[in-house]
């Protein structure tokens, strides 16, 4: 067997007698440690999760004002760009490198453990783990970018661009990977405790959500968000169709996020991609319906943007448990998330007065935690996970572990982001000038308009 296949320019292969190329497998009856279909599924799922980036960008753009549209776009582009390089250089090693005290990874920076070459077969099996690591990296990188990009929504319309760039780098390089290590690296301390977060309600969404919360808190509300009487005022988003497209794209991408987290398409674990997809979609649907009804009752009208948030809340809520619960439970989890997200948005708006323009804290932070805790209630070993929740006779054990995990990640994120934003505020500053905010970040930070030629009212 050739250890290295000569690469032909792409489409060329079509013409060559392909039997030559596949001679390796078919003829020699060599098998691979990880089958091709797992590679395929992992990269396809990664592509879908990547596609969530424009989903977030559109939701955040649509729910904020026209004068800041280019800025929010730019933040979304850059948190992915800066973030994925940071994750390549540092983050992935801290998250999945060899564990130091179950707390942090310490190897595999720059993907140093990956290898594009295949070793000789041993007992007819070729160990293709070196090549698999690339698939794992791209899959994990888009998850890391998801956590980072959530933050831009909560901090929209008033954050300095350079500050945001620095923050993006740091969350993807350090904050996200370290708590991720605890839960998703086999030797992490929360893994060992039995904490269950299948696709990242806590690992990804809560981290992003809590970071957004601290960011919004340090920034203070947008000018005009609270009247002199302290009552919140609505600052309507400027492009609901774009925001809705964003939500649909996220929903679509989530089919990579959750089902893709099987990390395999073969064997029983691979087959479960099917029911995970069902659970994911049903929870999103239930979340949208529940949020619509809740806001209908509370505000008298079926608010579009809240219903869209409801779908996202359902998706975030089911993310932790999508592989461990029945479709029926998924619907219930979705419904709960949909109700909670509305109450939470209003709680942050009216009571805590943390100005979160797109509801990022409630959708990702609160519903991420909620979904994680609900695993402790609805988990069913018939579906997966190895531990039953409260309703399936598992008692309070899993519930307790889940609570510990949620709390640890909350404390970690709040503490690190708190320190970080404090330092950034004291040094280069978090927030643009009042005048810049009023005129809009597009003109002030980027010297451009997003909708050139359109007549737009730009007061407020």
């Amino acid at each position: 067997m050739r250890r290295m296949i000569r690469w032909f320019p792409a489409a060329l292969m079509i013409i060559l007698n392909s039997s030559l190329l596949f001679a390796d497998e078919t003829a020699a009856a060599v098998s691979y440690k990880t089958p091709p279909i797992d590679f395929l599924w992992m990269v396809l799922a990664a592509f879908l999760v990547f596609f969530m980036q424009p989903g977030f960008a559109l939701v955040e753009t649509g729910f904020t004002r026209a004068k800041n549209a280019g800025n929010i776009i730019m933040k979304n582009l850059m948190d992915f760009s800066v973030g994925s390089i940071a994750f390549f250089v540092i983050g992935y090693g801290l998250m999945y490198g060899d564990s130091i005290s179950a707390f942090i990874g310490g190897s595999n920076f720059f993907l140093s453990d990956a290898a594009p070459l295949l070793p000789k077969a041993v007992n007819g099996v070729v160990d293709n783990s070196g090549m698999l690591m690339y698939a794992q990296w791209i899959f994990q990188a888009v998850f890391a970018a998801t956590a980072a990009t959530i933050v831009s929504g909560g901090m929209a319309e008033r954050t300095k661009f350079t500050t945001y760039l620095i923050f993006s780098f740091l969350i993807t390089a350090f904050i996200y990977p370290i708590s991720g290590h605890w839960i998703w690296q086999g030797d992490g301390w929360l893994t060992k405790l039995g904490f269950q977060d299948f696709a990242g309600s806590t690992v990804v969404h809560s981290v992003g959500g809590w970071a957004a919360m601290i960011g919004a808190l340090f920034l203070g509300p947008r000018i005009g968000k609270y009247g002199p009487d302290g009552k919140p005022r609505a600052i309507p988003g400027h492009n609901i169709p774009l925001a809705a497209l964003g939500v649909f794209i996220l929903w679509f991408g989530w089919f990579g996020f959750n089902p893709g987290s099987t990390l395999t398409a073969s064997g029983r674990d691979g087959f479960s991609m099917a029911f995970i997809a069902v659970n994911t979609s049903l929870a999103a649907a239930a979340g949208a319906v529940a949020a619509m009804i809740t806001i209908w009752i509370r505000a008298g009208k079926p608010d579009v943007s809240m219903s869209l948030n409801g779908a996202l809340a359902g998706l975030v809520g089911i993310t932790a448990g999508c592989a461990f619960v029945s479709p029926q439970s998924s619907i219930i989890i979705g419904l709960i998330s949909g109700v909670v997200v509305v109450l939470s948005v209003q709680f942050f708006d009216f009571v805590l007065k943390i100005d979160d323009p797109v509801g990022a804290v409630s959708v990702h932070g609160v519903c991420g935690a909620l979904g994680t805790i609900l695993v402790g209630i609805f988990a069913d070993t018939n579906y997966g996970g190895g531990m039953n929740g409260l309703l399936n006779g598992g008692g309070f054990k899993l519930l307790g572990v889940q609570a510990i995990g949620i709390l640890s990640v909350f404390v970690w994120t709040v503490a690190t982001c708190g320190i970080l934003f404090f330092i950034l505020k004291k040094t280069i500053g978090l927030r643009v000038e009042r005048n810049e905010e009023l005129r809009g970040l597009d003109i002030e930070e980027h010297g451009m308009e997003s909708y050139s030629g359109f007549q737009i009212f730009r007061n407020q």
Partner: protein, 113 residues
């Protein structure tokens, strides 16, 4: 010559135009405007938070007419725009010193129609 400026409800534009046409007034200019008036504003909500919308969408009409057309223009506008509800709008009348048609460079009453 007078310049008649009218603020009306957007949904009444077609009715007003029809009334004006009936009176052979076929020239006008239309702009979008936000109005703040007795109508006060209504309450929308966005994401469960009230918006006191006190700038309501209005249509602003500008119609230049000769003096003997003023009355029927005003009446036509009222006929088309009036619903009897607050927010129906206002008409303002300003004196025009002159009017010039760019195409022909005609001036004055000639140029208006």
């Amino acid at each position: 010559m007078k310049l008649i400026i009218a603020y009306i409800q957007p949904e009444k534009l077609n009715d007003v135009k029809q009334e004006l046409f009936k009176n052979e007034i076929k020239k006008m200019s239309v702009t979008n405007s936000l109005g703040c008036g007795q109508q006060g504003g209504f309450h929308e909500t966005y994401r469960g938070v009230d918006i006191e919308v006190n700038l309501l969408q209005k249509i602003r009409l500008e119609i230049a007419v000769n003096n003997d057309f003023v009355d029927q223009t005003v009446k036509a506008i009222i006929k088309g725009a009036k619903s009897g509800n607050i927010g129906d709008g206002k008409i303002f009348i300003v004196s025009l010193d002159n009017c010039i048609r760019i195409r022909t460079e005609e001036e004055g009453e000639e140029a208006i129609g």
